[in-house]
């Protein structure tokens, strides 16, 4: 495995999947994607039912999983050509994740959770420090997501509502300006009112940071808020052919 980064194939694309094929060990082929490109700064809504392989796709995008064949290029870097440690570093430096629930480490406070990515990425740490104190930046993000730092910063995670926890997760995903935000059903645990508010706050901050958003959910109702919306079945050949 080459230790160098693969030459940038397309500097403009945030994500570029080509002839991607993935199956779990010993299982049937789960993903067969001919081509999928996301431009930088684009906000993409990806709809898929549970079990359709959307979580697996996110794992591939994050460099946690490797495809059997095909190309996964994120921000110009071909992830399959990177070693495990390099992929971990890449993920830490460039990608922020928000999951459906239980995003936060229960033994850290709200502020400590938000600051967590800075422990793992020097690049994001410097991005923050260039602007000022790390804690100040964390508080700014919390405020942007409608959480008052003075009241919440030191609280244990368990003292927050689900909606508040999701917003903390979003702040954590965005600290240090990662280029790509990947969200896996982040609003599914929220009620209707909270859902809308969350998305507005999230998009405001993403726009300000210039981040690309890949948002996976089963709720079609959210699609209009995005630049582009598609179903997983549109790009995944195995679903189209019904071979899952």
């Amino acid at each position: 495995m080459s230790a160098r980064l693969a030459p940038k194939t397309d500097a403009a694309a945030a994500i570029r999947l080509e002839r991607l094929q993935f199956s779990w060990r010993g299982g049937a082929r789960l993903l067969d994607i001919d081509r999928f490109v996301v431009a930088r700064g684009e906000r993409v809504f990806l709809q898929g039912a549970s079990g359709s392989g959307k979580s697996t796709l996110l794992g591939l995008l994050g460099g946690v999983l490797l495809p059997q064949s095909g190309c996964v290029a994120v921000l110009g870097s071909d992830l399959s050509s990177l070693g495990g440690a390099q992929r971990d570093r890449f993920r830490a430096d460039h990608i922020g994740f928000v999951f459906q629930q239980f995003n936060l480490l229960p033994f850290l406070s709200v502020r400590e959770n938000v600051l967590l990515p800075l422990r793992f990425s020097a690049r994001r740490r410097h991005a923050v420090l260039r602007r000022g104190e790390a804690i100040a930046e964390a508080d700014r993000l919390l405020r942007a997501l409608d959480l008052d730092p003075a009241r919440h910063a030191h609280k244990p995670v368990g003292a927050l509502s689900v909606g508040q926890q999701q917003r903390v997760a979003a702040a954590r995903a965005l600290i240090g300006d990662p280029e790509l935000l990947i969200a896996d059903e982040p609003t599914s645990a929220l009620d209707a009112d909270a859902r809308g508010a969350f998305l507005h706050l999230l998009f405001d901050e993403c726009r300000r940071a210039g981040a690309t958003v890949v948002f996976v959910s089963h709720d079609r109702g959210l699609a209009p808020m995005f630049d582009r919306s598609l179903r997983l079945a549109d790009i995944n050949a195995t679903l189209r052919m019904g071979t899952n």
């Binding site: 979580s55 996110l58 794992g59 994050g62 946690v64 999983l65 495990g84 440690a85 971990d88 570093r89 890449f90 993920r91 830490a92 430096d93 990608i95 994740f97 999951f99 459906q100 239980f102 995003n103 936060l104 480490l105 229960p106 033994f107 850290l108 400590e112 967590l116 990515p117 422990r119 793992f120 990425s121 896996d184």
Partner: protein, 418 residues
């Protein structure tokens, strides 16, 4: 060091389990350290009990038995030594000094030793330290007594106090009430069985038994204290005697001559040799004890491994989050090993504290019961090595749940499987 704050906070989040685990380890560490300490203190204390005495002589018995009752006042003699034999041997040209000892009475649980004033001149301990008086002087009159430091301290006696001796070495028995003794001297603390001894003159022992037949005082045939004083109080038998020779080289020859003494069956021992024989006997039990206490530590660590492993299931989400943030799998491994290490360190530290607490608590009792001093000295090299070994074992034990978590982290990916 990224992982240390995470490990600390993680343990604090599960404080109850963490404290219980650390406590288990602490108890086992206290046990192994305590056993080791008592063992080495006992050896040191025993080995420095008597010094400068070339031979100890008593009725024919095992060398270890003679050492135990003559010096440590543990156990009883099987037979006595006749006064003639003692005088005969003491008069030998090779002998520089001889101190007779007579045992068999007690005072409120402390042994009474009949001897001569020479005892205070010739008995040495440790690096040839002589006995010192913290108050008063050696006995002079028939009914004078000199107390060891512990006796005076525990029973609250001072110069001039009156004490009554009890027949036999048990805690209760017939008392020699009509012949009380007066305290004329108190010895400074020595850390030897002398501290728990009441010393009186040989004449005093004779005096209190002068009207006793077969272990009982017959009413109507008693002799008053003053009358007894005027009688001839030369003893007929003694229990043992200490010998100092003019030349050390003659030790073996004199020992052999005493062992071959025709008139009476006697045993002469070199205190150093008898002590080594004692350790030889005790050694097997000591090794067994150390082995068991080592196993107890392993059990404590096994408990820690169990505690850490059972929490792995509920911490799967934590690991997935860390992976999503870009933590390498080895960080997951390191986190768990570090948690195990921190628990072991806390347990070891707690164990040391527990041991010292127990030591401080039991010091007085052990001194009274066994004449053994347990000072609160800092950990020895061996004890430090034992602690290091426990720490290493804890870290190694931590690799078991750490490996499990490592492999799961690799296979789980970002899946939400809880």
């Amino acid at each position: 060091m990224r992982v240390l704050p995470l490990a600390l906070k993680s343990l604090r989040n599960r404080l109850g389990t963490a404290l219980l685990t650390a406590l288990t380890i602490a108890l086992s560490v206290a046990l192994v350290l305590g056993v080791q300490r008592i063992r080495s203190e006992a050896r040191e204390s025993f080995a420095s009990t008597v010094s400068g005495t070339d031979l100890i002589v008593g009725a024919r018995s095992s060398p270890v038995g003679l050492l135990l009752y003559a010096v440590f006042h543990l156990g009883d003699a099987t037979n006595n030594v006749s006064w003639q034999s003692y005088q005969d041997i003491a008069a030998s040209p090779d002998v520089a000094w001889a101190v007779p000892i007579s045992l068999g009475d007690s005072h409120r649980g402390f042994r009474v030793m009949g001897t001569t004033a020479d005892f205070f001149a010739h008995y040495r301990y440790g690096a040839r330290h002589p006995l010192e008086f913290s108050a008063g002087k050696p006995f002079d009159d028939v009914y004078d007594a000199v107390l060891g430091a512990e006796v005076a301290h525990k029973l609250g006696y001072a110069l001039g106090s009156e004490i009554v001796l009890t027949h036999g070495t048990g805690r209760i028995g017939s008392e020699h009430k009509d012949k009380p003794f007066r305290v004329v001297g108190i010895l400074a603390r020595t850390g030897t069985p002398v501290d728990a001894t009441v010393a009186v003159g040989l004449a005093g022992i004779e005096a209190i038994h002068v009207d006793w037949q077969s272990g009982a005082q017959i009413p109507g045939h008693t002799v008053s204290a003053d009358d007894a004083r005027r009688m001839d109080l030369t003893p007929k038998t003694i229990t043992a005697f200490l010998l100092g020779l003019k030349s050390r080289i003659a030790t073996f020859g004199v020992q052999r001559a005493i062992n071959d003494y025709d008139a009476e069956p006697l045993t002469a021992i070199l205190p150093g040799v008898a002590l080594q024989q004692l350790w030889g006997l005790v050694g097997i039990a000591e090794n067994a004890l150390l082995l068991v206490s080592g196993l107890v530590v392993l059990v404590g660590l096994a408990g820690m491994v169990t505690a850490l492993t059972t929490t792995l299931g509920e911490r799967r989400r934590e690991m997935a989050i860390l992976r999503a943030l870009g933590a390498p799998p080895r960080l997951v491994f390191g986190l768990l090993v570090l948690e195990a290490g921190l628990l072991t360190v806390a347990g070891a530290a707690g164990g040391v504290l527990l041991m010292y607490a127990a030591l401080a608590f039991a010091q007085g009792f052990v001194m009274d019961a066994f004449g053994l001093a347990l000072p609160l000295s800092p950990p020895s090299m061996l004890e430090a090595a034992l602690l290091a070994a426990v720490l290493l074992a804890g870290l190694l034990a931590g690799t078991i749940p750490a490996l499990l978590a490592y492999r799961r982290a690799l296979s789980d990916g970002l899946s939400l499987r809880i």
